[in-house]
């Protein structure tokens, strides 16, 4: 192997051979920066913090003192720069109500959300794709029609209704399951059921149409005509192709997971990010809301970047710039 001559040459080579990935990375960075800018200026345009904090009766001297104390007397661009500096250090400020750092509050609530959402995601994606495949193979039959009717119901059943219905039946009437908290495994059953019912439906519908689309391509028949087994055709030809489309929707899905199922968490008093977001907004805890917005925004950008990279790995046409 020939070694590159200069560092410039090396950089050039890395850029060329991974051009697609670099472009995606740069785009993700730009998006993240825009999220920062927007969150900063939107909070700043939402009112004078001194007025909100000190109330209507504060004297001008008090306001001025407040501004000096929090650095609000400086020009906006200077404030923005120091904000950037803080964020770069991982400091998202302190909660107004609790006084603790926003980042700490976020991390204490994260495990509860992840322990709920990861199983939900795994169940929804695998079961959804499997059901979608079955529906695609049996398309336009009674099985397919029943599955599509079922998924329409599952998808259109509102979480706040279905969750409450579950609580009513299993907690109040039957008394089998706890209705709030996350201490035992039994606590997981109803929230998981609530979330999964809607999400499986989405994945079933989506993967059904992806599989139908892929199976209509001539190469599937071509492999059949070569005597390749149905199983191998599914695993090595159809699934990789269908996953290109499925990956996009999984990206959106996983990206939204971290914010938790806001409605579901609230119904079941689940101590996760979703409930935290709702309670901080109710309490007008601006630093907390701003910090959470930022983290959730970044996590969605991160997941989308991951999806783009996976796309490039699965699909050579994207990686190599084909049609």
């Amino acid at each position: 192997m020939k070694l590159p001559v200069s560092t410039h040459d090396l950089a050039d080579r890395i850029f060329r051979s991974h051009r697609y990935f670099w472009i995606k990375l740069v785009r993700a960075a730009i998006t993240s920066f825009l999220i920062l800018v927007l969150s900063f200026f939107m909070i700043h345009s939402s009112g004078n913090p001194a007025q909100i904090f000190l109330g209507g009766e504060a004297t001008p001297e008090m306001v001025a003192a407040f501004n000096v104390r929090w650095g609000l007397d400086r020009p906006l661009q200077i404030q923005f720069l120091s904000y950037l500096q803080q964020v770069a250090k991982g400091d998202l400020g302190n909660s107004l109500l609790r006084g603790e750092p926003v980042i700490d509050i976020f991390f204490t609530h994260l495990p509860a959300t992840l322990s709920l959402m990861i199983p939900c995601a795994l169940i929804s994606i695998t079961l959804g794709i499997a059901l979608g495949f079955v529906a695609a193979m049996k398309k336009q039959t009674t099985i397919d029609h029943l599955m599509m009717i079922g998924s329409t119901i599952g998808y259109s059943l509102p979480n706040f209704f279905f969750g409450v219905l579950l609580i009513f039946i299993f907690s109040i009437v039957l008394g089998w399951l706890p209705s709030s908290g996350n201490e035992t495994l039994a606590h997981y059953i109803m929230p998981v059921l609530t979330i999964v019912t809607a999400d499986i439906a989405i994945f079933t519908r989506f993967s059904r149409s992806s599989f139908i689309d892929v199976y209509e391509h001539p190469y599937i028949n071509n492999f059949k005509a070569l005597g390749v087994s149905e199983r191998r055709i599914l695993l090595q030809e159809a699934l990789p192709n269908a996953s290109i489309a499925l990956l996009s929707i999984s990206g959106f899905y996983v990206g939204s997971l971290i914010s938790g199922a806001i409605v579901t968490e609230t119904i079941f008093s689940w101590p996760g990010i979703g409930s935290l977001l709702v309670s901080s907004m109710k309490a007008r805890d601006f630093p907390l809301v701003q910090g959470l917005t930022l983290i959730l925004g970044f996590s969605i950008v991160g997941v989308n970047l991951l999806v783009d990279i996976l796309h490039g790995i699965i699909d050579p046409r994207i990686r190599k710039g084909g049609k």
């Binding site: 060329r16 051009r19 391509h217 001539p218 190469y219 028949n221 071509n222 492999f223 059949k224 005509a225 070569l226 005597g227 390749v228 087994s229 191998r232 090595q236 030809e237 990789p240 192709n241 290109i244 699965i314 699909d315 050579p316 046409r317 190599k320 710039g321 084909g322 049609k323």
Partner: protein, 653 residues
């Protein structure tokens, strides 16, 4: 090179009384009806038929690759095993190893996200070997189908292959498991003519070498004639005639075969092609008598009432009440009307038109691709001007530039005292005089409007008359284009391909344009319908003394339609003259290759030599030219006059 064949007696496949019915929403569609034929070891058996005649379904039934709603009956004996009695699992063991298939769409038949090696490996997997062995065998297979540097190419992806190369990969896959029968379903239809013959020749040689019997399905009569020994002609789900290919093509016994042969445009004969009247029957229509009777010029009363008997004449079989033993009734020779071209009246003039497209090369370098390179021509009143060239040569781009759908980066298009793309150019005025007929009529028609409304619409847009009068005129126009008035209130989906194209022609002609631009108007059509549309455009052009720019990849269609022709290659006109001169006295090596490739199977040899260094300024045809010399590698020839109204761009003509 012709290899002598002896027909061995060994029968390898015997299809008997095959029927295939598709069950669709309570309606049964008979796709194949009572089809029987035998295939002998090592022979090439052709099946000719138009779209929907059941030829593909017949072949898919052999390896049982039909969808689940297909009901198959009869018997298919492969070496005394009835394939229709095999279980779903055991039929898979015949596929590939005994009977291989090559399909029509070369690129679509390869998985876009897997390497070529992956494809070959899937085919080789049942031999249970290791990765190294698969690789070396794949390399060998690709070498056999003439893919250059197979060792590195097999790690490439399908989108990095051209159509011809992808089709070669498919052939390699099919051949990898040493099948005894190869079913080729229109294997070259998607390829350019010059490439078609080359690939078919390779396939034929490979089959001979490995003693593989081939079933060759095609709609192209001349290809079947050149490739096959025996042929079956299918019409509306059943075989109407079968026998030795030379006998059938020279003395057709079934009126359909005769009509099909007459509908093929022939080079050098300026006769109007004989269209078969009417359309093929739809799949779900069943006729009491002979299926062809409604379109048959020989039909008598009994033909409409009873199914025709199967008559054997020596080796031949024909299904007809009245086979044409006395030869074909000579239709009145309809010679093409000699048309008056007004040499002084130039309607449209294109000078040095160049169209560039921006492209993004690998590595992110922006570049331009020149689709049309400094093309000039003048269209005179009453002239039918043909532009011929293979796919991607820029002929459609040029046509679109002529109506303003593409903007030239250089050059000028003048027509009717106006210059396109300049200030003061009035587009509505221009489109009133220049109209366009697209290749795909279904895509060009509004799916939600009746054709009568659509044909009337241009009149309203150009405020020629009010809506009521427009509908009256549209009615007349559609009738003139040969459509029955019962069809006027249908929407495009409920019309056949030929009827849609007629409506499209009617829509273009309703505002009485002086120039009609037709972009491959017949290339998606069956031969019999193609002839109808060609005759329609020719007749109307003559009646209205209208000029036509007719674009096609099919030289025989061009020869039949046009007065003057330009041959286009990689964006430039390489030769231009009137039709007769071009046919009898083609000067450019590319034109000669094109003409050769439609005339005979073995004469033309296209040279694609390994990369010899030549500059970017070289003649565009350098790589494929058999006559090239050193100067051709350095500069590109310009179009120069070489006779009366004959121009050619070649240093050595």
């Amino acid at each position: 090179m012709d290899v002598q064949m002896t027909l061995p007696d060994e029968k390898i496949l015997s299809v008997q009384n095959l029927c295939v019915t598709f069950q669709q929403k309570g309606k049964d569609i008979e796709a194949v009806r009572d089809v029987s034929f035998d295939l002998y070891e090592g022979e090439i058996f052709g099946i000719i038929g138009e779209t929907g005649s059941g030829k593909s379904v017949t072949c898919k039934a052999i390896t049982r690759l039909l969808p689940d709603n297909a009901n198959i009956s009869g018997s298919i004996l492969y070496r005394d095993n009835d394939l229709l009695k095999e279980t779903k699992r055991s039929i898979a063991s015949y596929r590939g190893s005994e009977i291989a298939t090559i399909s029509q769409d070369p690129i679509g038949s390869l998985n876009p996200i897997k390497t070529i090696f992956h494809h070959l490996k899937q085919a080789l997997l049942r031999t249970r070997s290791d990765e190294r062995d698969y690789r070396s065998r794949s390399e060998h297979l690709l070498q056999e189908v003439h893919i250059p540097s197979p060792r590195t190419r097999m790690d490439d992806y399908p989108f990095q292959f051209s159509g011809g190369m992808a089709q070669r990969v498919q052939i390699a896959m099919a051949m990898s498991t040493h099948p005894k029968i190869l079913i080729a379903d229109e294997p070259t239809t998607a390829l350019d003519v010059t490439l078609q013959k080359k690939i078919l020749k390779e396939m034929k040689l490979l089959c001979l070498k490995k003693n593989v019997a081939m079933i060759f399905i095609s709609h192209d009569v001349s290809l079947v004639g050149q490739l096959c020994e025996r042929v079956a002609v299918m019409y509306h789900s059943s075989i109407v005639e079968m026998g030795n290919v030379d006998d059938i093509l020279t003395f057709p016994l079934h009126p359909y075969t005769a009509a099909l042969l007459a509908a093929v445009p022939k080079i050098g004969k300026k006769e109007t092609v004989a269209a078969i009247s009417g359309d093929s029957l739809a799949g779900d229509v069943t006729v009491e008598g002979c299926d062809f009777a409604p379109r048959c010029p020989y039909a008598k009363e009994v033909c409409h009432k009873e199914k025709p008997p199967e008559i054997s004449v020596g080796q031949r079989i024909v299904r007809c009440h009245f086979p044409l033993f006395d030869g074909v009734k000579s239709a009145q020779p309809a010679f093409m009307n000699t048309r008056a071209i007004d040499a002084d009246n130039v309607l449209m003039k294109a000078s040095y038109v160049k169209v560039d497209f921006p492209i993004l090369k690998t590595g992110g370098i922006r570049d331009t691709f020149t689709a049309v390179n400094e093309v000039s021509f003048a269209l005179r009143k009453g002239e039918i001007f043909g532009i011929v060239g293979e796919s991607g040569c820029g002929k459609s781009t040029l046509a679109k530039a002529l109506v303003g759908l593409n903007t030239p980066s250089y050059g000028m298009i003048e027509a009717f005292g106006q210059t396109l793309h300049t200030s003061g150019f009035s587009y509505p005025e221009y489109t009133k005089k220049v109209q366009y007929v697209f290749q795909d009529p279904l895509g060009a028609l509004d799916p939600r409007m009746t054709i009568l409304d659509q044909v009337a619409e241009p009149l309203v847009i150009h405020s020629v008359c009010d809506a009521k009068e427009a509908l009256l005129k549209a009615d007349q126009m559609l009738t003139e284009c040969g459509l029955q008035s019962s069809l006027f209130h249908r929407k495009p989906y409920n019309l056949s391909g030929g009827q849609r194209q007629r409506s499209l022609v009617a829509r273009a002609l309703i505002i009485e344009p002086e120039i009609l631009i037709c972009d491959e108007p017949v290339s998606a059509m069956d031969v019999s319908v193609q002839a109808q549309i060609m005759n329609l455009i020719k007749d109307l052009a003559h009646k209205r003394n209208m000029s036509v720019i007719f674009i096609s990849h099919d030289l025989s269609v061009i020869f039949n339609m046009c007065d003057t022709v330009a041959v286009m290659y990689k964006g430039s006109f390489v030769e231009r003259s009137d039709v007769d001169t071009l046919f009898f006295n083609a000067k450019h090596p590319y034109t000669q290759q094109l003409i050769d490739s439609i005339q005979s199977f073995s004469s033309s040899e296209i040279r694609v030599k390994a990369d010899e260094s030549h500059s970017v300024h070289a003649c565009a045809f350098y790589e494929r030219c058999p006559k090239r010399k050193s100067i051709c590698a350095q500069k590109s020839p310009k179009l120069i006059t070489c006779g009366v109204s004959h121009e050619v761009a070649c240093f050595y003509s």
